[in-house]
Structure formats: structure tokens, C-alpha cells
């Protein structure tokens, strides 16, 4: 019996729905998840060890073999690749002695790459254990690694003044917030939250729902579901208890605005959650924070504490006897799919982040089977603002079908990457001018799952639910960029991040990626393009959740916006052999095998005796 493991199990009261937390504790204890530790944990939870591993193996920050003293995760995004990823990776491999995906021989460093860590405004960036380093250069890498080798901790290197982690100065020390343009809705931090909550409680839940509905606020996560309706449905759904969850699993490559909101307006986020709780009748809330933002955790815990001190959280909130609500932070462990609300709920329950079959919807049966309201970070801030300024004020912003403002995380080929608050209805060209885009050619709206827009064709399109419905990620590419290579990178991202529960997404994305590789290799023909469209439609329409529902978009939207790029890569079939058939590769294996298996000092007799060859 390992006392430490037993202590972990006891701390979580043998509650297997807290498996993710327990796995994290084990991971912190050993640096990875050893088989024996998992077995003991499984025994303690009355689970088969394979069942525990079913969860642990789903998340890419959990390791099942021993790792080095330091684990390095280099962010592998298309933006990073435009800004020196390769040089930084080379430097990391050189300085640590570890090759990508491996541990160095001395067991000091494990080096991995990882999808977007929410720092596209300051790439290349990496996580060293729980500390983040940004704007990396080969020189900076040399310095960091040599300090680590000298025994300084990542913490000491990044935070030489030893600022407390609970302090915003600590976060600022690690990352820049880069708010390039604030607007009417976000980043207005008052200290009048008790007053606001009191007013809302006095007005009653129906009035709050009414205001949000009147404001026509829609979810900022991407799907754009009406927030007022979601709250209303959740309020009306029968359930012994209810839950509020803040989706802070900002995983869409290129987006980082939730990171900035959590840094600069954490209390507005919390206020939104408290309001949701008061409306639907929740006693517990969860902030599902992606592991990539672990350096925000202590700071957010401190904000929660401040709320408790103001009696905005805890029992008898603001003296209301029947209003008890508190929030815990649930750390993710590396899975893009957990941005899907039902996958996120599964993850909160200690399971694989597999999107659920719907119906039932989370508002009816969510976390632990109870009605659950899941809102994005930005939505919660907007709720707070609506309640501060009123529905009519909010309604006056934006357009007919898209009220208010939204935050854009802008990165790529522009002078001022960062967060911009724009009113819905702003055109793409206006945004590009604002950010100082340099020779913009293509803009990836909403990340890989969104659409690629040719600036000369779509520059006058307007941001809004009716047209450019953007989840906040805006990546700008100039004419020097290899767009097809970017598309392939995006498809690889979806292959890596598909949970694998359903056939079209698990298998179809692999076929689409392979087709893309074929096109880029110059072995594709028109039929391949036609098949990409048809297979893309299949994945899009038959997949279980939004991941497969959008994963073919990189191909489908670039095919539509930049057909000439694909056409230029096509080859004509000459003769009857298909262009996709690689004759050379088909025969190479034999040659390789023969060399590998033949003694080098031995020449086959046939070659000696029969020098004459017939033609």
C-alpha cells in the first residue's frame, strides 16, 4: 500500500468523477503515471486499471513512461512556424540533447511539441512544466537550458523576482496581455460587483434572463446559441441540483482572448458565473481551465478567494439565506475536443473527453446528470456587462443579427498582434487596417475549424453571425506563406485531436490529410480534388460533434477561395498508371531490404557470373 496514493484517494473521497484531479496529483508525484501507481489508484476506486488508463491515455499531457526532470512543450502552430519554430526546435534539440518526442540520455529533459498553447501573439512559445516562456529565439533557448542545467528551476528563471503566483504581476512577468484595442464591452473592471449582484438578485432571475434575452446576447464560444434561452432552459429543467461551468478550454489554434480576459477581467468572469448560478439555481460551479493556462491557476484561485471575502461566493451570498454557490477550478490535461461542452462535462466527470450523444442536452442532463449551464469565458463577461449597462445599451452595439462586440485574437502577418474588441458588423478590411496587416493575402477566421478567406474576395465581408461568424481567432497570412502547407498542418491537427469515437471523424480526417499530402507532392489529379470535396462533406455531415462537423473546412474553404493553388499542383495522367501510384516507392522497398539483408562483403553469384545483360 502506497500511503501517498491512498492519501490522494482519500482527499477526493474515493470519488471517481474526480479522476482527472487524482491523475494530476499522481503525475506531480512521479513525473508520469507509473503502471503500479495506476493499478493502486484503480483498486482504490474499484475500477479496472484499463478503465483508469482509458481516461489517462486520452489526454496528451499525461505520460505513461518516465519523463525527464523537465518536460518541455514547444507550441507547434502555423503562426509559430512563421516566426522561427524550426530554429527554436533545432536549438532545443541541440541544447537539451533530446530529440522531439523523446527524453535526453541523461534523463534531464523530455521534449515534445503541442498544439496551440494560446500565445499566438508571442510565438514561438513553450511550456517548461508549468511555466511558460514566450518569444523564443535560439539564444533565449540556450540561456534557459543552460540555467536549467545549472540547477535553476523554470520558476526561478521566468520569475527572478519571486513574485507570488497569486499576483497579476506574476502572470504579467510570464506573458504579455497585448490588449491592442479595448471597447465598450470588455475590460471595464469596476468594483461594484456586490452592488450589481444585489440589484440582480432583487430584480429576480426572470428579469436577468429577460435582460440577457432582450440584449440578444449569443454565446461567444463559436456556436452562437442564445445565452438567455440557454439559461431559461436550464432554469426550467428539473433537477435536484444544477451546475454552472465556465468553458476556459480555449483550444482553437490562434485564439488567446480568453487568456487575456482571465488575466485582466477575472472578476467579470466570476460575476457572470454567479449570475448564472442565481438564475438557474446552481450551488456549484466549475471553471474548466486548459492545462496550457496552468500559470493562471493560482491567480484565479486568489480571485475566487477575493469573491468569497466579499460574500459573492460561499454560503448565504450577500446575506441571501438560500443562495449558496462556490466555484472550483478543474484543470484539463490536453485535449482540444474538451472545448465541446459535452466533452468538457465528461472530462469534468473524470472520463475521456468524448462528446456525448445529444439529446439529452447539457441544459437538461449535464454534469453528473444534472441540468448544467456551460458558458464561454467571453460570454460570461458580456453577461456581466449587460447587467451593468442594461440590455438597451448592449443592443445599441453591433448589428441587427449580432448585437454587441466581440474580442478578436489577431496573429500572423501584422504589425500589432494582440486582442482587439470590435463591434459586430466591422468588415474584415477594417480589422486588417486596424492591426496593421502587411500585404494580407488570406485570413483564417475562427481557426482551423473556421474558414479561410481570400482578402481580395472577402475583405468587405462583415463579422457577424450572418456572415463571418468568428469565434475570435484571426490568423493573417501574406503572399509569402505556403497556404497548402498550412492546410495540411490544420488537417494533421484534426487527426491528432479527433477523439476517435465516431467513424467519419476518426477515419475520414486521416484520408483527407493523406489526400492533401498527395496534392502537395504533385501526385494529385482533378479526381482527388473531387474526392476531397465529397469526403469532406461526408465527414462534415455525419460526424458526432462539431470537431468532425468542421474539420474538413481547411480544405473545403481554401478549395473554394484559392482554387488556383490546387490547380497549379495537379498533374495530368500520362499513360495508364495512375499519377497517385508511386512506382519508384513501390520498388524501393525491395532494394532497401536486399541491401539491409545482404552481407556487404558478399556479392551475389549471379552478378559475378553473368555480366552480360540482354537489352
Amino acid at each position: 500500500m502506497n500511503n501517498r496514493i491512498q492519501a490522494i484517494i482519500q482527499r477526493y473521497q474515493t470519488d471517481r468523477t474526480r479522476l482527472l484531479d487524482m491523475l494530476w496529483e499522481l503525475h506531480h508525484l512521479y513525473g508520469y503515471l507509473p503502471d503500479e501507481a495506476l493499478s493502486e489508484l484503480a483498486d482504490g476506486l474499484n475500477m479496472a486499471v484499463e478503465d483508469v488508463r482509458e481516461t489517462s491515455s486520452f489526454y496528451h499531457y499525461f505520460h505513461h513512461r518516465s519523463t525527464g526532470s523537465y518536460t518541455l512543450y514547444l507550441s507547434n502552430t502555423v503562426i509559430a512556424r512563421m516566426q522561427g519554430y524550426q530554429e527554436v526546435l533545432d536549438a532545443l534539440e541541440r541544447e537539451t540533447g533530446a530529440t522531439l518526442g523523446e527524453m535526453d540520455p541523461s534523463g534531464t529533459f523530455s521534449l515534445y511539441d503541442t498544439p496551440c498553447i494560446g500565445l499566438s501573439d508571442q510565438e514561438p512559445a513553450m511550456l517548461v512544466d508549468e511555466v511558460v516562456f514566450t518569444r523564443l529565439t535560439p539564444e533565449k533557448v540556450s540561456s534557459i537550458i543552460s540555467q536549467l542545467k545549472c540547477g535553476r528551476s523554470p520558476e526561478e528563471i521566468a520569475n527572478p523576482r519571486a513574485l507570488p503566483k497569486t499576483d497579476i504581476a506574476y502572470v504579467d512577468q510570464l506573458v504579455e496581455t497585448n490588449i491592442c484595442k479595448a471597447g465598450p464591452v470588455f475590460f471595464h473592471n469596476g468594483n461594484d460587483f456586490p452592488e450589481l449582484l444585489k440589484n440582480c438578485l432583487d430584480a429576480g432571475p426572470e428579469a436577468v434572463i429577460g435582460a440577457i434575452t432582450q440584449a440578444q446576447l449569443r454565446g461567444h464560444g463559436g456556436a452562437g446559441f442564445a445565452t438567455g434561452l440557454k439559461w431559461k432552459l436550464c432554469r426550467e429543467a428539473p433537477g435536484a441540483t444544477k451546475y454552472v461551468i465556465c468553458n476556459a478550454d480555449e483550444g482553437e489554434p490562434g485564439t488567446f482572448k480568453d487568456r487575456v480576459l482571465l488575466t485582466r477581467s477575472p472578476q467579470a468572469v466570476l460575476m457572470g458565473m454567479v449570475l448564472a448560478a442565481s438564475v438557474i439555481g446552481a450551488r456549484e460551479g466549475i471553471i474548466y481551465l486548459r492545462q496550457e493556462y496552468i500559470y493562471l491557476k493560482a491567480y484565479l484561485e486568489q480571485q475566487l478567494q477575493l469573491f468569497r471575502e466579499q460574500r459573492l461566493l460561499g454560503n448565504n451570498i450577500l446575506g441571501h439565506a438560500d443562495f449558496n454557490f462556490d466555484i472550483r477550478i478543474q484543470m484539463g490535461a490536453g485535449a482540444y475536443i474538451c472545448g465541446d461542452e459535452s466533452a468538457l462535462i465528461e472530462s469534468c466527470e473524470g472520463k475521456r473527453g468524448t462528446p456525448r450523444v445529444k439529446p439529452p442536452y447539457p441544459v437538461e442532463q449535464g454534469y453528473l446528470g444534472m441540468p448544467t449551464c456551460v458558458n464561454n469565458v467571453e460570454t460570461l463577461v458580456a453577461v456581466t456587462r449587460v447587467m451593468q449597462e442594461g440590455a438597451e445599451w448592449y443592443q445599441s452595439l453591433g448589428t441587427e443579427d449580432s448585437r454587441g462586440c466581440r474580442l478578436m485574437s489577431v496573429s500572423g502577418d501584422c504589425q500589432r498582434p494582440g486582442v482587439y474588441e470590435i463591434e459586430w458588423g466591422t468588415t474584415l478590411n477594417q480589422l486588417l487596417t486596424l492591426v496593421g496587416a502587411e500585404d494580407p493575402w488570406a485570413v483564417q477566421i475562427s481557426g482551423p475549424s473556421g474558414e479561410c478567406v481570400a482578402v481580395d474576395k472577402g475583405g468587405e465581408r462583415r463579422f457577424g453571425y450572418g456572415d463571418l461568424s468568428c469565434n475570435g481567432s484571426v490568423m493573417i497570412f501574406n503572399r509569402s506563406r505556403d497556404l497548402l502547407g498550412i492546410v495540411k498542418h490544420f488537417m494533421q491537427f484534426f487527426v491528432d485531436e479527433s477523439c476517435g469515437i465516431c467513424t467519419p471523424c476518426r477515419s475520414g480526417n486521416v484520408d483527407l490529410r493523406n489526400k492533401m499530402e498527395r496534392i502537395i507532392a504533385g501526385r494529385g489529379c482533378q479526381q482527388d480534388l473531387d474526392e476531397m470535396v465529397s469526403w469532406g462533406q461526408l465527414v462534415r455531415s455525419t460526424s458526432r460533434c462539431g470537431l468532425g462537423g468542421t474539420s474538413p473546412n481547411p480544405i473545403l474553404t481554401t478549395l473554394q477561395q484559392f482554387p488556383e493553388l490546387y490547380q497549379a499542383k495537379l498533374t495530368e495522367q500520362s499513360g495508364v498508371l495512375l499519377p497517385s501510384f508511386d512506382l519508384e516507392a513501390a520498388l524501393q522497398g525491395n532494394e532497401r531490404a536486399r541491401i539491409e539483408l545482404t552481407h556487404h562483403d558478399y556479392i551475389p553469384r549471379e552478378l559475378i557470373q553473368d555480366p552480360e545483360t540482354e537489352k
Partner: protein, 234 residues
């Protein structure tokens, strides 16, 4: 509550909340399925039962019927999508029917016939997924697994209710696992249940296979379509 829906334009009277696959079958409309098991919770993993409901393509097994629902099953586009999904499963794993113990009893194979698949439109991948043979009475031919989750969800240890089968990894690196200790204490009828519940030849009962002569095998006696429709009549 009695409601009316339409399936391919035909009005159908049924009970609200019934599963669409069942409602269709009761009305002689066959919707191919692989992960769905009547009477069990919907798994919604294979997507082979994709149909159009009120204009949106969705897996029929995940749809409880509601008043006025308009369902399309038999259109060229939908039939081709269902066929493509079956083909995708064939190319994703190694489905070597000629050498498979499950041939003739395999739901994937039988459904392949129903959608008239002759070849996969997707490139065959020939994945290498090592088989798992450690348990006494059961082994896993992992390259045949289609990740339907039937065994994961519905086969549990009778003493502890623990999962006997589970999935490791995610996406294309996922693979099926079995807990040897729990598998070894499965009673014979549960071993058979596990092998039978597997819609392909992934979970195989040791010492059993090729028992029925060709021509007398399960789906040769009665096709998967006949079974799906016929079971409803009895």
C-alpha cells in the same frame, strides 16, 4: 403519446420518444446499423445509420421521434453516405474476410452486403495493431475493431461492475484493451455474449471458430436486413 411522423414521405403513426431505428423497422424501413443494440442505450459511434431528420443529417439511433418529424432514409445521397461509412471501416482496419473466424456471422460484413459495397473508395491502410492473447478464453484481433464501444459499455464484471473492456489512447492511436484478470473470471455464457456482441471479429472466443459450414452461417440463414425487420414483427 401517439404521434405521426413521415419516413420517406409515408405517414407513420408511433409513440413519442421511440427510437427512430426501431420505428423505421416496425414500418419495414431498414436503416443499417452497427453499434446500435435494441433496448440498450444509444452509443452513436459508427454513424452508419445516418439519415436526414427535419433537413439535418443525423444518426438515426440517437433520435427519439417527435411529432411531425420528417425523416428521409432512402435517397441516393444518404445511401451513398452510409455506404461510404461502411467502406471507411473496411479500409481503416484489416478486414480479411477470407481468413476471419467471424465471417458469415459478422455484422460489418453483412451490412457491407446490404449497402452493396464491393470495394472501399478509401485507400486500404493495413494498420498494425498487435493482437492481445493473454486471457484464457478470449482474445482480441485488434485490427478488426471498429470502436463501436458495445463491449466497453455493456460487458461488465458481474462481481464488481468494473469494465472488462476499455479503449486506450484517442483518435487513430486508440486501441481496445481487456483486463485479463476480469476476463478470466467471465463465465462461459458471458464470454459468448462478449464475442457475440462484437459486430466484427475482434473479440474471439478461444477454441471456437469456423463451426458452421459455409452456407449455414448466421447471416446466410437470415440476412442482417431480415433480422432487423423480422425481429420487430415477433
Amino acid at each position: 403519446m401517439s404521434i405521426q411522423i413521415t419516413i420517406d414521405g409515408q405517414p407513420v403513426v408511433t409513440e413519442a420518444g421511440e427510437n427512430l431505428v426501431d420505428v423505421a423497422a416496425q414500418n419495414s424501413v431498414y436503416i443499417p446499423t452497427l453499434c446500435y443494440l435494441k433496448g440498450k442505450p444509444c452509443l452513436g459511434t459508427c454513424r452508419v445509420c445516418s439519415v436526414r431528420v427535419n433537413g439535418h443529417i443525423t444518426a438515426a439511433c440517437s433520435v427519439p421521434v417527435t411529432e411531425g418529424m420528417q425523416v428521409e432514409v432512402d435517397t441516393t445521397e444518404l445511401a451513398d453516405m452510409r455506404k461510404a461509412l461502411i467502406e471507411s471501416l473496411f479500409s481503416e482496419g484489416n478486414h480479411n474476410c477470407p481468413s476471419c473466424e467471424k465471417s458469415g456471422r459478422c455484422e460489418l460484413q453483412a451490412t457491407g452486403y446490404e449497402v452493396e459495397m464491393v470495394v472501399s473508395r478509401f485507400p486500404y491502410r493495413f494498420p498494425l495493431r498487435p493482437r492481445e492473447v493473454a486471457a484464457d478464453h478470449i482474445w482480441l484481433e485488434r485490427d478488426r475493431c471498429i470502436f463501436c464501444q458495445r463491449c466497453v459499455e455493456f460487458i461488465r464484471d458481474r462481481q464488481t461492475d468494473q469494465k472488462i473492456f476499455s479503449i486506450k489512447g484517442r483518435g487513430i492511436t486508440a486501441q481496445i484493451e481487456v483486463n485479463t484478470e476480469l476476463a478470466n473470471r467471465m463465465p462461459p455464457e458471458q464470454v459468448r455474449e462478449a464475442a457475440d456482441i462484437c459486430p466484427v471479429g475482434c473479440i474471439i472466443e478461444k477454441g471456437v471458430g469456423f463451426n458452421d459450414p459455409i452456407g449455414r452461417r448466421k447471416f446466410e440463414l437470415q440476412s442482417v436486413r431480415e433480422r432487423a425487420l423480422g425481429e420487430e414483427e415477433s
